[in-house]
Amino acid sequence: MNIALRLRGIRKVYPGVVAVDGVDLDLLPGEIHALVGENGAGKSTLANIAFGAVKADAGSIEAVGTVGLVHQHFELVGRLRVWHNIMLGREPRKGAIVDVDRARSRVAELAERNGLAIDPDAMVEELPIGVQQRVELLRELEREPSVLLLDEPTAALAPAEIATLFSTVVQLANRGTAILVVTHKLQEVIDYTTRVSVMRHGKIVARYETAQTSVDAIARAMVGGELPQVAQREKTGVKPCLAVRDVSAGVDTTTISGLSFDVHAGEIVGIAGVEGNGQTALADAIAGMVPFTGSIELDGNAGALRHRENIAIVPQDRHHEGLVVNWTIIENAILGRQNLPGLRKGALTDWRAARTDAAAIVERFDVRAASLDVTVKTLSGGNQQKLLVGRALIGDPRFVLAYQPTRGIDVGAAALVQSRLIEARNRGSAILLISFELDEILALADRVLVMFRGKITGSFTGAEIDRGKIGRLMAGLT
């Protein structure tokens, strides 16, 4: 059988780490091949080598036709329109001038053919993440690649968007494109792919025909043993803690209007919804980052929310909003908590206490780092996220706002973060969980609120929680 992409003996060494260690991989036309593994296993590096963005130290790459790559972190120009991003560098011309009409119709035709709805004239920076990814995918499809690599394509997508994406991917495969999907969402692997390769520490440690394997088997191969168990929830008392009443606010183009709900002590309330339906506005209103109308009170007191010993926040974007990447673990461990009595002595930071504190976070949240004095930018994404969540939960805050707390981290790290959230709940913290992954909401929440277009369209408690109903409400159906 002919092979669309043949990798042989690929090796790549970065200072201090062998990222890819002698990998052989074949992609066949028409197959959807999953590449799975923990954070730092070398999946993204391998994809980038196959694409040609990173040069391997050793090994050979043979590809038939062109190779396209949809990046995990999109590489789009925010201030250009959709059609221009897709046609960038290959704009049709009329003499020296870009033929906008032709470019637009090419993009519309491309979107139509692949079943990806898009407005060619939208400004990319104003689009929700899911739609931005469609733009990135269309840009690659425009080049008609014979091999398409997708690096964590569903990390930021809602269930409906994931289904749409994969229906496109399956169509492409049926037309003969060889597809490699880098992911750590194992259910997607089972649902949509034909073969699986599992990477660990730079090597491929297992290969399966998808039809002959299971989520459990793949997960065990990924972590090289048994999976950590997620903590059990215990019965907790129910005192109201956070009270949101008739709150309206707006961030960028998304708004929320007239939201009212409570979060009780010892309870996880999950906000289910597709990204861009007002979650950011809600989180920013609670965090006091945007003006809002209505009232948000903690134990009947609006001012209490502004005291950092009461409230802990896991922000959405760990690099931009959460961590100072050029700082050490210790410096980051106390950010937002620098004025707490235990970490401050008069006008001075108590660095000895900060070190102890950072060591406790690193230990309890399994942040893997050479020392507490390394800068955060040297940590892998999963370890950065564990540090971020650990910093929020370490002081047993009364209220926790967790926004996508397991975003972009592997199954082992995600299980640990989820366990710590449940443990904080068991100790009496009130937790508001905003996640675009319905599975995560269903696994953690005592109560689920569905957000659609800035309003709460459904509320489910305990036994009433129903995946199907929630999914329909998320899509705006009733």
Partner: protein
């Protein structure tokens, strides 16, 4: 190759490279580089008087450079140290011409007044940024011209000394003069322009380092500079931080102006600074915004300032060549980041 890159990535390598480039420039200008450098270093380090003069220049650069560093660490591009220096000097000169108590008290009060003058000037830019989000780059730069014109008007008019022929304030009463630098063994500095202001400048650097590394305020200031969005979300009051940082930055520069008035000129006039506030930006950047390294950088630039005159007089190198060397150092240091990335290239 890697070794060469790594050497160039350090400050020492950068300065070495700058001197090599400067030597080439001198060759082109028809001057023997050995001659030029001989007079540069003899004029700055070759004896008691040259060293004293180098330290006077070092001091004049160090205060504004520390001020600039403070603002830059907070992520604020204060390029108005020149105006803040002038306003500090102006206020100290205006008060010092009329006020005198015991010497230590008088000097202390005049330096404090200098800080107030510079602090107000920096604070205006801080307030404009905090309140209206007006770019501090533009406002601090523009306030330099306002300061120069305002000071020029005041010393030519309301504050002009009736006894002086030029535009300057009345001389300070002698109790407002900074004490001369103390003798070291048998070496006395009484006949030079060197005063204890160099010690005050170094003490300021040490205090700033302490503030950056040990205090909660310094921690918050660095957070605001390194990652403004993360700082804001961690509960730091960013408008307040902006106002405070620019005020303090101006105050340190203003202290420098007062130090020149009380230590060197003993009066105020607008030729107080030949552009110290601008060179200070380079000094701060060369010193990596780290107060102690800024001291070293200020000494290096002090050598160039003080030695330049001798180089001009004896080797026939125009003093502008010193500006060329300064420019080359800055250029090479800016290129350091490039060399540094090449030396450790690891794209993750």
């Amino acid at each position: 190759m890697k070794v060469v890159l790594r050497l160039l990535a350090g400050p020492a390598g950068a300065i070495l490279l700058a001197f090599v480039l400067a030597a080439i420039a001198m060759l082109i200008a028809g001057v023997n580089p050995a001659d030029g450098f001989y007079w540069l270093f003899r004029g700055s380090l070759g004896g008691r008087r040259p060293i004293a003069e180098t330290l006077v220049q070092t001091t004049a650069l160090l205060f504004p450079a520390l001020g600039v560093s403070l603002a830059f660490r907070a992520g604020l591009f204060n390029i108005g140290a020149e105006g803040q220096l002038l306003m500090g000097g102006l206020l100290a000169g205006a008060v010092g011409a009329h006020f005198a108590g015991p010497q230590w008290l008088t000097v202390f009060v005049l330096l404090l007044i200098g800080m107030v003058g510079g602090g107000i000037w920096g604070g205006i830019a801080g307030w404009l940024r905090a309140r209206f989000n007006a770019s501090e780059i533009i406002s601090t730069l523009m306030l330099n011209f306002v300061a120069l014109s305002l000071a020029g008007y005041l010393v030519a008019g309301p504050l002009k000394s009736p006894l002086a022929s030029g535009a300057e304030t009345a001389p300070l009463l002698p109790n407002g003069w900074l004490p001369a630098f103390p003798s070291i063994g048998s070496i006395s500095f009484g006949d030079t322009r060197l005063t204890i202001s160099i010690l005050i400048a170094i003490a300021t650097a040490i205090v700033l380092r302490f503030v950056f590394t040990r205090t909660v305020f310094g921690y918050e200031l660095r957070a605001a500079g390194e990652a403004p969005e993360a700082a804001r979300r961690s509960g730091i009051n960013m408008p307040r931080m902006t106002l405070l940082a620019l005020t303090l930055s101006g105050a340190v520069a203003g202290l420098g102006g007062a130090a020149i008035v009380t230590g060197v000129l003993h009066r105020f006039n607008t030729s107080l600074s030949p552009g110290y506030g601008y060179t200070a930006i380079a000094v701060a950047l060369v010193g990596d915004l780290n107060p102690l390294w800024v001291c070293v950088a200020a000494f290096g630039f002090g050598i160039l300032e003080a030695g330049g005159l001798m180089m001009q007089a004896n080797a026939g190198v125009p003093k502008d060549a010193i500006r060329v060397i300064e420019g080359l150092i800055i250029l090479v240091l800016a290129a350091r980041r490039y060399f540094a990335t090449r030396a450790t290239a690891a794209p993750i």
